[in-house]
Assembly symmetry: C2
Homo-oligomer: 375 residues x 2
Amino acid sequence: MSAPAPSASTASLSYEQAGVNYDLIDPLKVAAQRAAAATAGHLAGHGFTEVPASRGESAYVVDVGPFYLASIVECLGSKALVADEMKALTGRSYYDGIAQDTIAMAVNDLITVGATPLVVQAYWAAGGSDWFGDAQRAQALVAGWKAACDRCGVAWGGGETPALAGIVESGRIDLAASCTGIINPKSRLSVGDQLGAGDAIVLLASSGIHANGLSLARKLTERLPQGYLTEVAPGLSYGEALLAPTVLYSPVTEALARAGVTVHYSANITGHGWRKLLRHPAELTYRIHTVPAVPPVLRFIQQHAGHDDREAYSTLNMGAGFALFVPREQAEQTVAIARAEGVEAVLAGQVEAGAKQLLIEPLGIRFASDDLQLR
Amino acid sequence: MSAPAPSASTASLSYEQAGVNYDLIDPLKVAAQRAAAATAGHLAGHGFTEVPASRGESAYVVDVGPFYLASIVECLGSKALVADEMKALTGRSYYDGIAQDTIAMAVNDLITVGATPLVVQAYWAAGGSDWFGDAQRAQALVAGWKAACDRCGVAWGGGETPALAGIVESGRIDLAASCTGIINPKSRLSVGDQLGAGDAIVLLASSGIHANGLSLARKLTERLPQGYLTEVAPGLSYGEALLAPTVLYSPVTEALARAGVTVHYSANITGHGWRKLLRHPAELTYRIHTVPAVPPVLRFIQQHAGHDDREAYSTLNMGAGFALFVPREQAEQTVAIARAEGVEAVLAGQVEAGAKQLLIEPLGIRFASDDLQLR
């Protein structure tokens, strides 16, 4: 990657400068999406059909008769690099949290369509056999993976632990998870056809940066005299704060289903920050009247990257890790159920008829339809 | 990786010298398998159960009531490195075949338990955004991925295309596929409880090395004066021959199911070569009376690596990519159905009562139970 180093520590640091060039990736993505869509007809040969609306969603859904089947594969991204740096600085292994992050990337996407996650598969591709020779780290990865499965009530089916010298860099690991679930009863399917004016927007709290925006966060250490050991709050280093594991939201969505709450739509707030609230293609206005508390590490990144609120909310989760769109009369119940599951939640706003836009009123921010290009 | 270079070109080249040290990976694998097995109880919370016998098999199976659900994630391994070298030498992109290889790794494992593959997800983790900027290569990857989905009758659900600079090496890509399928009717489940004395062993032909043994095959180029351009047969370079795409076997297993052939057990012959025929834990003798033709590239590797038949058959597929264990009276029909699907097949032997061992009689080779440690 040839991202130029910022010339001065006061310059604003963009996501592109941090090393991700979507102009190069997007043509492939579009070609792949078209080719993928053209394969849907194969399901008819088995007596099944896809749920076409799921094509643009976070997980792919197939109607297999008695219920829907949902599946996904998701990558952790570059967060493990922070764990590696912090291990060198502190001697601790953070791979228990990294394991949770990886599972969260898959599970939190899978549940957006209304699925109950059933099986997780592990994909741990190391830069060489010797990666697995660090017993402390390997055990942390295994223990954290199991704990996250326990928290989500999923079975860990198995997985792959290849040693990929020459593809994965020496001393590094490429972590991903695949997840399969079912939508049962079928009425739990939430791909947005029920979404409409009058729905309430409930935001579930994040624990920090989760696993998106790490390229930017890592790049930022070049501006910090103490790097990852710089304090973001008294006694809390930047590195420790970045490594707070991603919240697993499936216990909340499962509890909502048990309680009879109807989720009309949901969005996992990952890359693209709050613009993910505009995920559904419908022409609707999302009006936010209450924003959740911003975790110290995200405020710290915003300040040191020189981002205004608009740029920060367009890139980072800023305290909201998951959005639920529910009937207005079930909004308070939704908040209460989330809290009972140990996840802070806020009734943040409502869906209204009108142009497709997100209005974050307390901050005077407006994101319009063309601020998010996902499909 | 610290594999020593061979001191002379006549020395035998072992798999460990080629850079894979299972002694480092295996303790993690065992710990992960134990932790994974301990999560099975979570399925009861959803009203389901795992199929315990699938824990040691190539795909994980859950009983979801009307049918079984099978899922898997599989890595391509290092075969893409050969495509990269050959691109530099010939100007051609081989990523259409590489895509097929990647899907084959997942599909050919999934079908061993009797599953019909339904959905494939793509995992394409590049060393940087610029990987995707090579349009010829990117289009070959997309086209090959779709063609393999078409051949297997699976829907391409979506996937991930992360740019992982700092984790995946610059200019490289880490390719994997996840696959979800169902076993329907449930009588198609083949985890080995029907396997027994009297069953016939039908071997389906491979196209070459497939995607296992590539570390050894790549290492071998150091001994070849013309490297990948060395001819293994008139007009066929070593590199071209290595890149023959892995055969997709699901059209055969689906055709067998339609024809009413009962598959008692099956094995995808990947790493560990023919020792995979010993995969099932039962005490049974597998007697081979006919071996399939050996693809020129595998004979070439055997000769140049200085391997005797025993070592070659213990590492490479030697012409047999997939093994089907079927009732004796359906053996000829099995061979005919495979051929009708364009896959060469041979009635190779039978299962007998006796000590757990594989006897390859035409070659005078015996593999015993302790030659394969998978569980």
